[in-house]
């Protein structure tokens, strides 16, 4: 490592809102070298974001205090300087970008002004000079028409462009260090690849040092020089990327690497997949035929004309009993709309959905009754999908009662369901608030299983979870599929998870299916360039399998 530009020594951050004070950062020491990208890895609550906030002097609560240690930058201790001096460190020495550009950019201020703001304040520049400087920076981070886009507002851009705007604002005063807090977590894989490429490019051109906070080891493997792993406020391991990935010393690091979904499935997992493929070819449980779903957008009696957005355009799909199908695609590709239409939650414009031979359009009452009784959905945000006032037991009891389970059998069934999802029986008395994300999602799955469903639709059900928890939930699905002969429609933007869980996959793009087939085959030999781009954009944990040259995924040929 080259000369460190930032050294953190024995930093301790405590929360003083309780007695005794709780230690959230526990004696962390870390160096950031000039021009290097340091990956800071850990799960939610590990203290990785808090560590960076401490460096910036932006602790999120007044009850949080730096109790010991130092943060040295240019021979000054950032924990000791006053707030006026700190203003000139933030923005000028250290820039920061965040996970969610939509909420961190000011919605009522032009993006150019948000970039120019720092230049005007820090460098005392005139409005004109700040503007020309901001336009130059916007161009640098990849705005195609910065002159005009200076005057645009954040909502006029896509998520990827918003993240570029945030990078531009963070870099406006030419900081030496950029802290990127989960900068690509909210983005599609292809956009993620572009943003990561931009960060590496900026590092090379500007000699920037970057601290990249992420939970995705694949991102780290592809971009970073060194890796630091945090857990429960402590630095458990750090070192050069290849050495650390090849030979992790700490058990927790090994578990993180083991949980990463881009590793090929082990032989054990592949057995049931084969078996499942053999047992199908009976009759389709779910048949979707030339399905169209449209939404009204705007149009009024004065401006005239009804405008519609076609979210799903002619999708046909057959799902056999016991099959696990992954539906993948970028945001806006229509995968969630498809799922909702199958369950009768979105109005169908044309086409057919038939569940177990009953057509949803022709016999809506009968089909809906059966659909709702025999299918279940698992949602993306496990905490918000559960009633906060109900205990897990109440939630399950409600479903069981509604399904006509005799009262005497309900307590037994609840215990059975909790066993199925590996939750302790005491969880029956707990409310979602006192449970972790993974435990909530298990409760959500238990609720789905309570109706003895023949089909489960899981909509991005692991996207909000930490990697190790993701792996547990995916393993749980794999186990349930095997034990209960479940049919599963698994919607995800994470291709690696689909690969490990699903035997067949469907790739959607702009409301259409552009590719489908057995998962192994699609991954090995994608027919569409679009699918190939999507696969290539997934950051692999092996640093020697680099991201392909990032670009917007090529739109597919006419299917």
């Amino acid at each position: 490592m080259s000369e460190p530009v930032l050294s953190i020594r024995d930093l301790v951050v405590r929360y003083h809102g309780v007695t005794p004070a709780r230690t959230l950062i526990d004696k962390v020491s870390l160096d950031v070298g000039k021009g290097e990208i340091l990956g800071l890895v850990g799960e939610s609550g590990s203290g990785k974001s808090l560590l960076c906030r401490s460096v910036m002097g932006l602790l999120p609560s007044r009850a949080l205090k730096i109790d010991a240690g130092s943060v040295m930058l240019d021979g000054r201790d950032l924990t000791a300087i006053d707030s006026a001096e700190m203003l000139h460190v933030r923005g000028r020495k250290i820039g920061m970008i965040f996970q969610n550009p939509s909420s961190h950019l000011d919605p009522v201020m032009k993006i150019g002004e948000q970039v120019a703001e720092g230049i005007r304040f820090h460098e005392g520049a005139t409005r004109e000079w700040a503007r020309s400087e901001a336009i130059r920076i916007l161009e640098q981070v990849g705005f195609p028409d910065p002159e005009r886009q200076y005057d645009s507002y954040p909502h006029e851009f896509s998520g990827g462009m918003r993240q570029r705007a945030m990078i531009a604002a963070a870099l406006s005063c030419r900081p030496e260090i950029l802290i990127a807090d989960e900068p690509t977590t909210a983005l599609d894989v292809t956009i993620q690849a572009q943003i990561l490429d931009l960060l590496m490019n900026l590092r090379d051109r500007l000699g920037l040092s970057v601290i990249l906070i992420t939970h995705d080891l694949g991102v780290v493997a592809q971009t970073c020089d060194r890796i630091a792993v945090m857990r429960d406020g402590q630095l458990v391991e750090h070192g050069e990327k290849r050495a650390l990935l090849a030979d992790p010393q700490h058990e927790y690091t090994r578990m993180l690497i083991g949980s990463h979904p881009s590793l090929p499935a082990t032989g054990e997992d592949e057995e049931p997949v084969r078996a499942a493929i053999e047992k199908k070819k009976t009759g389709a449980l779910l048949e979707v035929d030339d399905l169209h779903v449209e939404f009204d957008i705007g149009g009024s009696i004065f401006t005239g004309g009804r405008k519609t957005f076609k979210a799903v355009k002619g999708v046909s799909l057959q799902v056999m009993p016991g099959e696990t199908i992954g539906i993948v695609g970028e945001s806006g590709s229509g995968k969630s709309t498809l799922a909702r239409a199958i369950l009768g939650l979105n109005r169908i414009a044309s086409g057919h959905v038939a569940f177990d031979g009953v057509d949803l359009a022709q016999q809506p009452a009968k089909a809906l009754a059966r659909l709702r009784r025999e299918t279940a959905m698992v949602f993306q945000d496990p905490l918000n999908a559960l009633n906060p006032r109900y205990t897990v037991g109440d939630t399950l009891r409600e479903v069981l009662k509604h399904n006509g389970t005799p009262s005497a059998e309900i307590p037994g069934r609840i215990r059975e369901l909790l066993d199925l999802v590996h939750l302790d029986h005491e969880f029956a008395g707990r409310k979602p608030r006192s449970m972790s994300g993974g435990q909530c999602q298990r409760a959500g799955i238990a609720r789905a299983l309570a109706v003895n469903p023949r089909l489960i639709i899981a909509d991005e059900c692991v996207a909000a979870l930490d990697v190790t928890i993701q792996k547990q939930i995916v393993d749980l699905f794999a186990e349930l599929k095997e034990r209960m002969n479940l049919t599963l429609l698994f919607i995800a933007h994470d291709l690696a998870i689909v690969r490990n869980l699903c035997e067949r996959m469907v790739v959607m793009y702009h409301g259409e299916i552009v590719e489908e087939g057995p998962t192994d085959l699609v991954f090995a030999r994608p027919k569409q360039a679009y699918t190939a781009d999507l696969l290539a954009a997934v950051p692999d944990i092996d640093p020697d399998r680099p991201l392909l040259a990032p670009r917007a995924a090529r739109p597919p040929d006419a299917a």
Binding site: M56, L58, P60, L87, H88, V89, R90, G91, R92, G95, M96, F98, N100, S103, H104, L105, D106, P107, V108, M109, E117, G118, F121, H122, Y153, H155, M166, A169, A170, S172, C173, F302, T303
Partner: protein, 312 residues
């Protein structure tokens, strides 16, 4: 500038609203027990005299025909003749509209001048003494009834200190403002309390928002963070609350105008109701309705200007 397209077609939506209001007030006013002719002539009027007056004002015609005449008059820019004042209602309203308009305008300006600084102080010192003080004062402002506040202000400022007149409305602009000081303060104390609560809440949220955090991470001092990011992002809900309250206020000036004896629309309305002056009640209700619609329209224009995401 297609976002401002609504400025051209929104006034068209006023037509059905006004039609509905005219029908409802027309029917409601005539459902009040009592007869304008009888009120006009006193208790000892002869049946023939009453019949003559009823005929003169068209009160003997069937309801639908009376409504038709009303619409016909409206098309000619008239609102019918007041039974009490014997002149056209529109002319009558015009003589009374200025004091009310001034009262509302001064009250609103005063409310904003009170609410914005108080919210700013409270939000930026959240949880400290200044914040608690502002919250207690604004809760009290909501709690006190305006007529009581008005009497207290008169006792203190007019009777004790002899700073402002007890009642009435002046002649030249400055004199008018001087007369309006206490009435508008009465209204502003209640109105600014409502606004402060809303604005303080929005500011507290915006101060903790990701937008503010990102600005601080760029090294912006708290002052810039507040004026350039927090304030613009917290104004929109309060603007709409203000618009709703102004609509309520236009009707609500009745009480304050009575206490301070201001010759405005509120006073006119009260006298018209007591003397069953149908045409005046109708006319005043229509004017109030138009004003409310207009205020909300203005609020929409301001909202669209403040928040580029909003499309109407």
């Amino acid at each position: 500038m297609h976002r401002y397209k609504f400025v051209f077609y929104r006034p068209l939506q006023l037509l059905p609203v006004l039609f509905g209001i005219s029908v409802i007030t027309f029917i409601l006013v005539r459902m009040i027990p009592g007869d304008p002719a009888r009120v006009l002539l006193g208790t000892r009027a002869t049946p023939t005299a009453i019949a003559r007056i009823r005929e003169q004002y068209g009160l003997d015609e069937p309801l639908w025909r009376q409504y038709f005449y009303f619409l016909e008059n409206l098309a000619h820019g008239e609102m019918g003749k007041s039974t009490l004042y014997k002149i056209d209602v529109l002319k009558l309203v015009m003589t009374r509209i200025e004091p009310t308009l001034m009262l509302v305008l001064v009250s609103v300006i005063l409310s904003i001048l009170i609410a914005v600084p108080l919210s700013t102080i409270a939000a930026r010192r959240q949880g400290r003494i200044a914040d608690h003080a502002v919250r207690i004062v604004s809760t009290m402002g909501i709690g006190f009834p305006p007529f009581w506040l008005a009497l207290m202000l008169i006792i203190f400022f007019s009777v004790r200190l002899d700073l402002f007149p007890v009642s009435g409305y002046g002649r030249d602009p400055l004199d008018k403002l001087w007369h309006l000081a206490l009435p508008s303060l009465t209204i502003a104390l209640s109105l600014s309390a409502v606004l402060t609560r809303s604005l303080r809440g929005a500011m507290v949220q915006a101060l903790q928002s990701d937008v503010a955090t990102a600005a601080r991470a760029r090294g912006m001092p708290e002052g810039i963070v507040f004026w350039r990011h927090v304030l613009p992002n917290s104004l929109v809900p309060t603007i709409n609350l203000l618009a709703i309250n102004i609509g309520w206020l236009i009707g609500g000036t009745v009480v304050v105008e009575s206490v301070f004896a201001i010759p405005g629309m509120g006073q006119l309305l009260i006298r018209a109701i007591f003397s069953r002056d149908y045409m005046v009640v109708q006319g005043v209700a229509m004017v109030f309705a138009c004003a409310t619609v207009l205020i909300n329209f203005m609020a929409d224009v301001i909202t669209v200007t403040l928040d580029p995401r909003i499309k109407l």
